[in-house]
């Protein structure tokens, strides 16, 4: 049976990624690290505050935002780490949800932007658009604290809860608006700035 409403997701309001990214960043008061996944996820994170030193903008390696965030969370257990990832990217690396659940880092939050398409390459359909419920998948991977954000206020509430202790996965249905900004394209500068922001000397 093809469940086109994908479990629970049908109750979620379609929101805007840049608006939600700004709402997230506004909640970050303790120099939390943020790992932005490839493409529009990154672009909106950049546009939300390019001067923010604790942001890492992943330029390639599609699907690795959550694994990178897990590594930061293990290395710095007293700092909260947020991974921002697209639905197509997460589909590429679903197994990482099981790894996160197995390690169960309290200082990790995963936020998934789900528009059901590979937006940046021309909006080709992703399996999330018709078949896969990523919150149900995350729960099945062992991440009991996984939720769809029903609307903007619910997103805020879920983020506040997640920052108190996780691991937590928050998924949001988003519209087809493109990313607002464009990240710098200098990987060494991005990496060095991020490490400085985390207080690490290479």
């Amino acid at each position: 049976m093809n469940n086109r409403t994908a479990g629970g997701a049908h109750n979620a309001k379609v929101m805007n990624r840049f608006a939600l990214t700004k709402r997230l960043v506004a909640k970050l008061k303790r120099d939390e690290a943020v790992i932005g996944g490839i493409g529009n996820t990154n672009f909106d994170l950049w546009a939300s505050g390019p001067e923010r030193e604790q942001n890492f903008y992943m330029l390639g390696s599609m699907g690795l935002a959550i694994p990178i965030a897990l590594g930061v969370a293990i290395a710095q257990p007293r700092r909260h780490v947020v991974a921002l990832e697209g639905d197509g990217s997460l589909l590429m690396q679903l197994g990482c949800l099981g790894t996160v659940a197995m390690r169960a880092p309290r200082n990790l939050t995963m936020i998934v932007w789900d528009n059901g398409v590979y937006q940046i390459t021309g909006a080709q359909p992703a399996a999330t658009g018709s078949a896969v419920d990523l919150v149900a998948a995350a729960r099945a991977c062992g991440l009991a604290n996984s939720h769809w954000a029903a609307d903007e206020d619910d997103f805020d509430r879920l983020v506040e809860g997640a920052l108190q202790g996780g691991p937590t996965l928050i998924a949001a249905k988003i519209d087809g608006e493109p990313g607002v900004g464009q990240t710098e394209r200098d990987p060494v500068r991005i990496r060095a700035a991020f490490m400085k922001g985390l207080g690490v000397k290479p």
Partner: protein
């Protein structure tokens, strides 16, 4: 060398001496004694990943967070990480420490392993990644210790290919 010195013991001790504290891996038969020993050593955080590129991502994040780490994989696993190396590790100058148990040579019985093995060194060479093939127990500590120091000092990844000449490899048995 004394009989009680093993390749896996040397690697574990050398990792510890260089403050490598996180080990990610995708399992491999040859690595079993090393993995088992690392799991039992509280100086290391050791856990399996679902894919090798996932492990590469975790180790990259750990480095940026100030923790040294290494990833263990077999030759076929290396065959899956070219993009993570080319688009994340190399351009970001991450001193990723990779240990690969070499399949595909010296009596390999699986054609797929023999084929993917041929891609490993060309991929490393094309990305300019330093790699060493360890064949002798008496050279192992020197190779691993000096190369970790170089990787960190030059902010560049390094790949240790552990030959069946060192580990015994995986042998086909009827």
């Amino acid at each position: 060398m004394p009989q009680d010195i093993t390749w896996h013991g040397v690697i574990q001790a050398t990792l510890k001496a260089n403050d490598v504290r996180l080990i990610t891996y995708v399992p491999d038969r040859v690595f079993t004694p090393l993995i088992t020993s690392l799991h039992g050593d509280s100086d290391f955080t050791t856990f399996p990943c679902t894919r090798e590129e996932e492990a590469v991502g975790i180790n990259t994040g750990a480095w940026m967070g100030g923790m040294r780490s290494a990833v263990l994989m077999q030759t076929s696993g290396f065959g899956t990480i070219a993009n993570a190396l080319a688009s994340l590790v190399v351009p970001s100058q991450i001193p990723l420490l990779m240990f690969v148990s070499e399949r595909g040579v010296f009596g390999e019985f699986n054609l797929g392993q023999a084929m993917v093995c041929r891609t490993m060194r060309p991929v490393l060479d094309s990305l300019g990644i330093v790699h060493h093939t360890a064949t002798r127990l008496d050279e192992l500590e020197f190779i691993v210790d000096r190369s970790i120091r170089q990787a960190v000092a030059t902010q560049a990844p390094v790949c240790f290919i552990l030959s069946p000449l060192l580990t015994g490899g995986k042998v086909f048995r009827h």
